[in-house]
């Protein structure tokens, strides 16, 4: 059974139709993700326009250096993911596995730094809810900022965890040789998802960490 027959699902006419369907399906899913995060960005925009000062105080509670490092980590993971997709399409199995591993590593590093930041805030009682102990001015609005901080970065981290899981599956598939130039849709689609999660962070970093550096 030639590789192309194996790759073609029964209800598609040909491989091009199947590839079009897969990529279009992922782009449409990414639009739902844009609107899903969009609700949070809308809430952020509303409260930042009402309480600019409080969002300034809140932003200064976030460690800019860790945030910047995380941005660099995530952008480099985007690079390695793009190279992984290229390797999959060219059928370079070893390089594919290497780049997938690199992306996986960088993703976990990002989550590690995130965990560090969260535990840092736990110790300083900066987590919204019962144990919130911020003594500065506008404490209720700063808690609101931190709600959006934890909400947005938490949802983003959840998407990172899902991405890492997908990468693990892809590495296993690549290891077993299931990914060939004609059957590389899964890697390409995972790449689109990963780059999207990176773009969300590209917007989160300035909005949460760089609100008020000049005070």
């Amino acid at each position: 059974m030639p590789d192309s027959e194996l790759a073609l699902a029964h209800h598609f006419v040909d491989l091009d139709q199947q590839h079009d369907a897969a990529t279009l399906g992922m782009w449409v899913f990414l639009v739902t993700e844009i609107m899903f995060f969009g609700g949070l960005f809308a809430g952020y925009a509303l409260y930042r326009s009402i309480y600019p000062a409080a969002f300034g105080h809140g932003s200064r509670l976030c460690d800019v250096t860790l945030g910047a490092i995380n941005t660099v980590v995530l952008i480099s993971s985007s690079l390695t993911m793009a190279l992984a997709v290229r390797a999959a399409q060219l059928g370079l199995r070893a390089r594919l596995i290497a780049f997938l591993a690199a992306t996986l590593l960088l993703g976990s590093l990002f989550l590690g730094i995130k965990f560090l930041e969260y535990s840092h805030k736990f110790h300083e009682h900066l987590v919204p809810g019962a144990g919130f102990g911020y003594s500065g001015p506008n404490s209720r609005q700063v808690q609101l900022f931190l709600c959006f901080y934890f909400g947005m970065t938490g949802l983003h981290a959840l998407h990172m965890v899902i991405g890492v899981g997908v990468l693990l599956v892809l590495m296993v598939l690549a290891w077993r040789g299931h990914i060939t130039p004609l059957r590389s849709n899964s890697v390409e689609v995972a790449g689109l998802y990963w780059h999207f999660v990176d773009i969300v962070w590209i917007f989160l970093f300035p909005l949460l960490y760089l609100v008020d550096l000049h005070k």
Binding site: H10, H11, F12, V13, Q17, D20, A21, L24, G25, V28, F29, V31, T32, E33, M35, F36, F37, G38, G39, L40, A42, G43, L46, Y47, I50, Y51, A54, P128, G129, R140, Q141, Q143, L144, C147, G151
Partner: protein, 543 residues
């Protein structure tokens, strides 16, 4: 109306129904037709639950002091009625049942683009409705289907979070359906089937899927924030902690107004299929009707603020939303005029689907026109949150979407089941439903302008006569809905065999045997003519 059993020889050959009778083949199917049947059965059950809660509400409103149920029970009933009917019946009704069944067949494909995701969509729907039913049975939710904060987050002590999670999960069910339809219609059309030869039902489902994709996630995030706020009390919507209750209303209505177009657009698509068939006429102004569906879906996202004219929204924002709300009415008007013009010089037969289409034309027109009252700022101040609004949206959802759904079920029943239903009973039930509906909801327009607020379990005595009329109408409507359940099930066993094309209709779905084989088409068909290319003298079953 013959009631003879099907002669053995006449039994249709191998098809998607008798391909495999095991439970496992049904619960793990990826065949879009079987998934449609799974949806049909589940939403019928949920419709009965939603309808029963409406019946109880109407009985309670027979007397001014609302003697049948306590206030708390009444609040849980109207919340249950709203949630079940909207999220668990109307939104999936035409897209998930008829859309799933017909989209691949109408474009000459063997299945939707992602069959496994299609099955996952049904399981998410079942998970969501189970959560909703459990939260209803264990104690119920008393926040109204709109979940307005801060009542839903801080002051209500009912099972809000469980219901919210149920709606959250059901939201992803419609996102998957929307994704499937958009990709299927884009990438899997048969050769020769250009966009402007597509049946208008697919244009309306494409527009509906756009709303699923662009709107449902915002509902998901607002329900998520609602749950977080209710569990952790962090102040996202709680004014005592700096939150703004109007943020929830904005996020909620950003989805929930386009959701009403999700409920009516597929119905419009059905009417665009039924009227040309039974008038034997090409649709009048195909391009205008097609683009109207897309225009409704897109402009529908700009108008949500008309739900908030008196809720503390700024005066200027109210004017912007009011202006845009009038714009969205234009495409709907274009559609109604085009359907009416299609009847001109036709050879019209009064089969049941056509009766439902006539009912739709009349009731949707009233519903649409009363929508203009609510878009007019000064009048909305008086009639907002009164029975005028209740009557308006029931004319659209029950008079419009429900009538179109029943019309669609009757139009494609021969294709789905391979059987014909008794036409006399079907026509009778259509008329009973039409009369019962009008008796139920027309008095509510008068109640509304009189100032009767909605969600009241007791009311001033001067409104009693109109309420009694409405309750009488609701019992007729209830009976009207039961009749189709009976004769359609009856037809499965005793109905006459329907050939491939009992109505003489145009469209690829009618070129397959009834019920169709699992793979729909042996060879992918080639389309050569326009949609609804009626010549005028196609014979129908009893011609």
């Amino acid at each position: 109306m013959s009631t003879t059993l099907l002669e053995p020889g006449q039994e249709a050959g191998r098809n998607y129904l008798n391909a495999d009778y095991s439970i496992r083949s049904w619960l793990l199917t990826t065949d879009h037709k079987r998934i449609a049947i799974l949806y049909l059965v589940s939403i019928t059950f949920l419709f009965v639950v939603g309808g029963a809660s409406a019946g109880l509400m109407r009985l309670n409103l027979m007397t001014p002091q609302g003697a049948l149920t306590s206030a708390e029970t009444y609040n849980k009933l109207f919340t249950m009625h709203g949630l079940i009917m909207i999220f668990f019946f109307l939104i999936p009704s035409i897209p998930a049942v008829l859309g799933n069944f017909l989209v691949p067949m109408m474009i000459g494909a063997r299945d939707v683009a992602f069959p496994r995701l299609n099955l996952l969509s049904w399981y998410l729907f079942i998970a969501g409705s189970l959560l909703a039913m459990v939260s209803a049975l264990t104690g119920g939710v008393d926040t109204g289907w709109t979940f307005y904060t801060p009542y839903s987050t801080t002051y209500s002590n009912s099972y809000v979070v469980m219901m919210a999670v149920g709606v959250f999960i059901a939201g992803f069910s419609s996102i998957l359906t929307g994704m499937n339809f958009i990709v299927t219609i884009h990438t899997m059309r048969a050769p020769g089937l250009t966009w402007f030869r597509l049946p208008l039902f697919l244009w309306s489902l494409y527009a509906t899927s756009a709303i699923f994709i662009l709107g449902t996630p915002v509902l998901a995030i607002s329900i998520l924030l609602l749950g977080l706020e209710r569990i952790f009390g962090v102040g996202i919507f709680d004014p005592k902690l700096g939150g703004d209750p109007l943020l929830f209303q904005h996020l909620f209505w950003f989805y929930s107004h386009p959701a009403v177009y999700v409920m009516i657009l597929p119905g419009m698509g059905v009417i665009s299929e039924v009227i040309p068939c039974f008038a034997r006429k090409r649709i009048f102004g195909y391009n205008f009707v097609a683009f109207s569906s897309v225009a409704i879906a897109l402009i529908g996202f700009l108008v949500w603020g008309h739900h908030m004219f008196v809720s503390g929204q700024s005066v200027y924002a109210g004017m912007v939303f009011s202006f845009l709300s009038f714009l969205v009415a234009v495409p709907s008007a274009i559609k109604v005029f085009n359907w009416t013009a299609t009847l001109y010089k036709g050879a019209i037969t009064y089969h049941t689907p056509m009766l439902y289409a006539f009912g739709f034309l009349g009731l949707f027109t009233i519903g649409g026109l009363t929508g203009l009252f609510l878009a007019t700022l000064a009048v909305d101040v008086h009639v907002h949150d009164t029975y005028f609004v209740i009557a308006h949206f029931h004319y659209i959802m029950v008079g419009g979407a429900m009538m179109a759904y029943l019309g669609a079920i009757h139009f494609w029943w021969p294709k789905i089941s391979g059987r014909l239903y008794p036409d006399a009973w079907a026509r009778l039930s259509a008329v009973v439903i039409f009369l019962g509906f009008n008796l139920t909801f027309f008095p509510q327009f008068i109640l509304g302008y009189l100032g009767m607020p909605r969600r009241y379990h007791a009311y001033p005595p001067e409104f009693q006569v109109l309420h009694v009329m409405s309750t009488a109408g609701s019992s007729i409507l209830g009976v009207g809905y039961l009749i189709p359940l009976v004769y359609l099930l009856w037809s499965l066993r005793y109905g006459r065999a329907a050939g491939p094309n009992p109505w003489g209709a145009k469209g690829l779905e009618w070129q397959t045997p009834s019920p169709p084989p699992t793979e729909n088409f042996e060879r992918t068909p080639v389309v050569t003519e326009e949609a609804y290319a009626y010549t005028g003298e196609e014979a129908s079953v009893d011609a």
